[in-house]
């Protein structure tokens, strides 16, 4: 009996592999039918496994051509042509472009207006604290609606004199992004028309997302309790 069933399943799977699914669908017993379907899936999976082995030589060649430069690297080359001094090649990678703050305003204008770049959308500005002994960093995510490419620009600035040129006049959205980054990290954006705190109250002390931030003890007479013993 079982031999018969196995034979039946085998034949049905063979037919199904040739494209005739009715052979399986017409099996009346439910258990046998599902067994046949499982066998079909298994057969297909094995067939799929064999394929890449055959085409392994091809995939190697496609990998070579897949080493297309990322848009970050492409744009970095364009920037280097225009502003050879202002890009930090050592720190740049395929994921981001590291830029010195000095000419950032001009570079930003170039990135927005150059026909090869056309970054019309500034998607995000965020700050990063690289550690208490280390610097602060601003990161810009740019995207082009025309070319559909995106890059990340990073600018580091020193902790004690955190100043970066503002790009608020280039991308209008940068207004609030820069205010938020200023609010959280105390990074001053030179040339911003209204650089003030955006989320926290005006009279807040300190920059909350810096690693060396100390929570203030009172705010307008309201006590802010520190972590109590046993609460951790």
């Amino acid at each position: 009996m079982t031999d018969n069933l196995e034979q039946l399943i085998k034949e049905a799977v063979e037919k199904a592999l040739e494209g005739d699914m009715d052979a399986i669908n017409n099996i009346e017993d439910r258990v046998t039918r599902s067994k046949a379907k499982a066998a079909l899936v298994k057969a297909k999976r094995e067939a799929a496994k064999e394929k890449p082995e055959v085409s392994s030589d091809e995939s190697d060649s496609t990998q070579d051509s897949a080493k297309i430069k990322t848009s970050n690297e492409n744009i970095a080359e364009l920037i280097i042509q225009q502003f050879p001094e202002d890009i930090n090649k050592d720190l740049s990678s395929e994921g981001h472009i590291q830029i010195h703050p000095k000419n950032w305003m001009a570079i930003a204008k170039y990135l927005r207006d150059d026909p090869a770049c056309l970054f019309d959308s500034l998607q995000c500005i965020t700050g990063v604290d690289l550690g208490e002994e280390s610097d602060l960093e601003v990161r810009y995510n740019l995207h082009s609606m025309t070319h559909l490419h995106a890059i990340e620009v990073r600018i580091t600035c020193s902790r004690n004199n955190a100043k970066v040129p503002s790009v608020e006049s280039i991308w209008r959205i940068g207004d609030w992004f820069e205010r938020e980054t200023y609010d959280m990290y105390g990074i001053e954006f030179d040339g911003h028309r209204d650089l003030s705190r955006i989320l926290l109250p005006e009279d807040w002390e300190g920059w909350p997302l810096r690693k060396d931030y100390d929570v203030q003890e009172t705010y307008h007479g309201i006590v802010v309790p520190k972590v109590k013993e046993g609460w951790e």
Binding site: L200, P201, P208, Y213, V215, H220, I222, V223, P225, W231
Partner: protein, 163 residues
């Protein structure tokens, strides 16, 4: 009843003025309609048709001048704390506060690392009823409101308090 027994018609109720005032107040505590975070969603659900706060005499008022109860529904940031205090001060006496949810009660999940969160709204305004939960279900809030009604009912506004 004693002395007054059978002296009046059936539809007359005799009570002390103190208790009567307490009863009247407790059955129509209008609450101040403002929410601070996700608890406000549950507060809205409580006021909406399924749970229907109107049946216990509560309806939302948009002005602190017309409200008796302030439900602090949500995370109170330090920036907001000053405003909550001001709103409380603008309410007319007698006024009550319900602290809804963990955040308003103790800072909730922001207890340890929330540099900007007030660790309990009772640091700025006196709280009558705490409703635990994160956020509390409408049933929990209604339980808190009923507790508040009990409290209002037990108030004796005309009786001199002995210190």
């Amino acid at each position: 009843m004693g002395v007054f027994e059978n002296k009046f018609q059936d539809n007359v109720v005799v009570a002390s003025l103190d208790k009567l005032l307490g009863w009247a107040r407790s059955t129509s505590p209008w609450f101040f309609q403002f929410g601070l975070a996700c608890c406000a969603i549950e507060m809205m659900a409580t006021a909406a048709s399924r749970h229907d706060l109107m049946r216990i005499g509560m309806l939302p008022r948009s002005s602190p001048r017309q409200a008796d109860v302030m439900i602090v529904a949500g995370t109170v940031t330090l920036k907001m704390a000053l405003r909550v205090k001001k709103l409380y001060e603008q309410m007319a006496n007698p006024k009550y506060v319900i602290s809804m949810g963990s955040c308003a009660t103790s800072g909730g999940p922001y207890w340890q690392h929330g540099y900007h969160v007030l660790k309990g709204v009772d640091l700025v305004v006196p709280v009558d009823v705490y409703v635990p939960g994160c956020p509390p279900r409408p049933e929990a809030l209604i339980e808190g409101l009923l507790k508040l009604q009990e409290k209002i009912q037990s108030d004796r506004p005309l009786t001199r308090k002995i210190a």
